[in-house]
Amino acid sequence: MTKFWPTVAALMWKDILLELRTRDIVISVLAFALLSLVIFNFALGPSPQITPVVAPGVLWVAFTFAGVLGLTRTFVLEKDQGNLVGLLLTPTSREAIYVGKMLGSLFFMLLAEIIILPVFAVLFNISPFRPELLLVILLATIGFASMGTLFSAIAVNTRSREIMLPMLFLPVVVPIIIGAVMASGTALEGGSWSDMVKSIQLIAVFDVLALVFSAFAFEHVLQE
């Protein structure tokens, strides 16, 4: 068996290098997310009464659908060029392949979110740079990428993969999205840690379950 972390690092580096050359994921994710924010901004207007109520939902709609768009691409490149077979032929554990792909997706999603947040702040006149909100975003994105990587591997083998991924994946991550919207709302309203603890716990528990389940199920998803 090859060493776990060096192979995870090699997979991540390969995905980052490919993305730097093709810009397939980040550009499409950013374009979608930024357009969503602009449309919501025009639709809802600058009302100080409405904005705090809808802002957490708007933020997570942008993150969620942009994230799904990015996850769709996670295995497409591997599958379309036959490289998934190449990966499966290596003695690397399937868990290492899963973790490598998951960390790659997490990296791109966090990168997109770092760019989206300042735009969100300007458009909705809200300061999102609070430690509570940043923690919620980090935890929810980990859960999203953990489960999304598994579902991306499932969807890539189906004929209508662009449709199948959101259909299969979104119902499963509803708890994480609800938890993230609730905790983000509290954080944006200036709530304390104690007000958010239940939502953060929900997201953290989901993260652990998603990671363990996905790492276990990944091998069975890839096997013919």
């Binding site: 060096p6 090699a10 290098l17 490149l77 036959g82 077979v85 190449g86 032929l89 013919e224």
Partner: protein, 244 residues
């Protein structure tokens, strides 16, 4: 000969292999044995199950029934050990088009945890004649160059067993001759090779064992030395219904 990890007396041992995809039985109770150092050609028309057999031997596809042992390792119990002992070349190059040839080899070597990676890259690049285009993206290489790079990738970890699934697909005549030379001169006797093909001429020129896959089974398996070309072509036609 390249030394295998396992202790099996046979390079490949298949017993009662059945593979079913939905309603279709592709391989039906297939038996196959191959000793170390042999070059087996598996002939068969399109859809006869050659690719499915190669997929099963390379651990990509799990058998519906039956036992598969490669390099002395059981497919169900120790697939990772089998992967360390095989190299696979398919009609797809299994290369990342946006990575350079060198980056492709480096990535593949890292996935195998090779400690002498740069040394191995230098060796296989020399052997396969890919030195001159190591810095070029795989996507801009010709089919022939990609195939050479694909072969370099497959033997980078120096596996004792090489599995080739119609490696000639998409190659022009010059590239085909080069592939034949490399597989003949470089690999004969050094590695155990299983090559699936529907090209009877090429198979007869390369292999020292010949098999015909028909009806999901090995219908014919003989030493090359025991048969002449005309007899084999007639046998091939009889089993497959395809004139060669």
């Amino acid at each position: 000969m390249v030394e295998p990890d396992g202790n099996g007396s046979l390079a490949i041992k298949v017993r009662g292999l059945t593979k079913v995809y939905g309603p279709q039985v592709v391989l039906r109770n297939l038996d196959l044995e191959l000793s170390w150092g042999n070059f087996l050609i598996v002939f068969g028309p399109n859809g006869s199950g050659k690719t499915t057999l190669i997929k099963a031997l390379s651990t990509i596809s799990r058998p519906t029934e039956g036992e598969v042992s490669v390099a002395g390792f059981d497919l169900k119990r120790n697939p990772a050990a089998i992967r360390r002992n095989i190299g696979l070349v398919t009609h797809q190059p299994l290369l990342y088009g946006d990575l350079t040839a060198l980056e492709n080899l480096r990535f593949h070597g890292k996935m195998f945890g090779l400690t002498n990676l740069e040394e191995r890259i230098e060796k296989v690049a020399d052997l396969m004649g890919v030195n001159s285009f190591l810095g070029r993206k795989a996507s801009i290489l010709s089919h022939g160059m990609q195939k050479r790079l694909s072969l370099a990738r497959a033997i980078l970890h120096d596996p004792p067993i090489l599995l080739l699934d119609e490696p000639e697909t998409g190659l022009d005549q010059e590239a085909l001759e080069m592939l034949g030379q490399m597989m003949g001169a470089g690999e004969r006797g050094r590695r155990t090779v299983v090559m699936a093909t529907h090209s009877v001429e090429r198979g007869l020129a390369l292999g020292n064992r010949l098999a015909i896959l028909s009806g999901g089974k090995i219908a014919f398996h003989e030493d090359r030395a025991n048969i002449d070309e005309a007899m084999f072509k007639s046998t091939y036609g009889r089993f497959t219904g395809v004139a060669s």
